[in-house]
């Protein structure tokens, strides 16, 4: 029905959409930058893989274990670091991501070290991936439009005023951080059950950067923008296979261009449906 090349493209896109949606809630709506979310993907991937292979848990349960493990680690890390100001928090996340990667490299008995963890059953078909991505979008959308999402946006806009209005800033920041980690873990688990063989290199610093860059490209504060940007970032290299070595170069140029030309990202604060609303409004209100 669908050949393995397209299946690969769809699964990769969907997995990244889930991870980027998590980033979008964290970075776009709460304005916390994390360069360590590949670390959470790794935790999700390895936990889910080990659950499947060693404990023969059903696929869905393995994925949930992976996501929960990432969430727990994020909660513990967040308890320590969430009070740090902007750039210091970013650096602590960066350090964490690298720690996870190196740790998985050294724990050879559990993770297989640099040669990777093999024998994971193939479970993430393109249908599974697509269903998960849609579910992830719905969950993120509902979160953002709940009073929790309102609190996230308030923190993004003005932390002092948010606190003055009765928002427990630390609690909500941590919630946002854990949420993004759960999504990253979910994505990692799915990815592991697609690749069937995972190595720590998959979840290195460039992967974290890719997630952040995608979120920034899509617009900080737009879930649909994040999805759009993920599709662009994931699909373009597929069409330009020959130049895949220059991937990061292209990202860099793309980010510079977007920052210069569209500082708010592809979508800015707008969601996809807003684009149509806006144009309709202009017509009706004319010059007002």
């Amino acid at each position: 029905m669908i050949n393995s090349f397209y299946e690969g493209v769809i699964v990769t896109c969907c997995v990244n959409i889930i991870a980027v949606l998590g980033m979008s809630v964290l970075t776009g709506f709460t304005r916390l930058f994390s360069f360590g979310n590949a670390g959470f993907m790794a935790i999700g991937a390895y936990t889910a893989a080990i659950c499947s292979v060693q404990f023969h848990l059903p696929f869905a349960l393995s994925i949930i274990c992976g996501a929960v493990a990432a969430g727990i680690v994020a909660y513990l890390l967040g308890s320590l670091t969430i009070r740090l100001r902007g750039d210091y928090f970013l650096i602590s996340c960066l350090g964490f991501g690298e720690c996870v990667r190196v740790l998985f490299l050294y724990l050879r008995d559990i993770t297989g070290g640099a040669t990777g963890y093999t024998g994971i059953p193939f479970r993430t078909t393109w249908v599974v991936a697509l269903v998960c991505a849609i579910a992830a979008f719905i969950i993120a959308w509902n979160l953002i439009h709940s009073r929790y999402g309102q609190a996230f946006s308030a923190i993004r806009e003005n932390e002092v005023a948010a606190a003055a209005n009765g928002i427990d800033v630390v609690k909500y920041k941590k919630m946002s951080f854990v949420f993004s980690a759960i999504f990253a873990g979910w994505a990692g688990g799915l990815y592991a059950h697609y690749l069937r063989h995972i190595t720590p290199v998959l979840f290195n610093l460039p992967k974290s950067c890719e997630l952040v860059i995608t979120t920034v490209l899509g617009g900080l504060g737009s879930l649909t923008g994040s999805v759009l940007a993920t599709l662009v970032v994931q699909l373009l290299p597929e069409f330009f296979r020959k130049f895949s070595e220059y991937r990061m170069l292209a990202y860099g140029i793309a980010v510079v261009l977007v920052i210069l030309l569209r500082p708010a990202g592809l979508m800015g604060y707008k969601e996809f449906p807003d684009l149509f609303k806006k144009s309709g409004k202009k017509k009706s209100t004319g010059g007002a």
């Binding site: 609190a151 003055a164 209005n165 009765g166």
Partner: protein, 240 residues
């Protein structure tokens, strides 16, 4: 200031706070009665804003007791709002990139009683019809006066027992200041206690029931608004 009857809603005893080695407020005691409008006046650097920051939990006090509604005041901002004190911060501090309605929703995002939230939304729109007209505009696009209205409305959305305002007249045209003062009076009449910190002494004294005058971290004077207005010498000495 001894213990009065139980209609005292806020009682501050021997409060001190500072920044590093500098004492911004020094051994301050005062009280606010339920339903009253109380002004805290004083020149720049008198410690008025620091006092409000201590009450709102933004700044840690170094000594003293604060009792609100017969219980000691909790330490964190969000707990204080939950207990029923809202602050309208200096310089408005509204959320520029959120719409007016979203700004108001942030004010009540700790509440779960949807039905009452809807009523309160109508109530603040009644107080400030301009906000309803502009409810889907970004907060940053409002004029200064409208932003101040939004900040007050946002504070009210938490359904506070006491509303604290830090210099609401700052940078506003006199006619807008009058409007805001009138609104504060009607808010007080509907039962919300108001603690007002102001530099605009005449406006504040005309509005309030009682006032305290601060000077270099201490309270130097307490009287009714009318009496202080009449006392030209003191006005001149402390308020300019």
């Amino acid at each position: 200031m001894m213990d009065r009857s139980d209609d005292v809603i806020l009682k501050v005893d021997h409060l001190s706070a500072g920044y590093g080695g500098i004492r911004a407020i020094d051994d301050i005691s005062f009280y606010v009665k339920r339903g009253e409008i109380v002004s805290m006046l004083g020149a720049n650097g008198a410690g008025k804003s620091t006092l409000l920051k201590c009450l709102s939990g933004e700044h840690k006090r170094s000594a003293g007791e604060i009792t609100f509604d017969a219980q000691p005041l909790p330490g964190h901002c969000h707990q204080i709002v939950e207990r029923g004190i809202s602050i309208v911060p200096e310089g408005r501090q509204i959320f520029y990139k959120l719409t007016v309605l979203e700004n108001l929703r942030v004010g009540c995002c700790q509440r779960k009683d949807q039905e009452n939230i809807r009523k309160d939304l109508e109530m603040v729109y009644d107080l400030f019809p301009r906000l309803e007209e502009r409810k889907s505009q970004f907060g940053g696009l409002l004029s200064g006066g409208e932003q101040q209205m939004l900040a007050i409305a946002r504070g009210l959305m938490a359904r506070p027992k006491m509303l604290m305002l830090d210099e609401p007249s700052l940078g506003l045209a006199p006619i807008i200041v009058n409007q805001i003062m009138d609104t504060l009076r009607s808010i007080a009449q509907s039962g919300t206690t108001i603690l007002l910190v102001e530099q605009n002494a005449v406006k504040a004294l005309n509005l309030c029931d009682r006032a305290y005058v601060m000077n270099v971290g201490r309270i130097v004077l307490e009287d009714s608004g009318k009496e202080l207005l009449a006392n030209e010498k003191l006005m001149h000495a402390y308020l300019g």
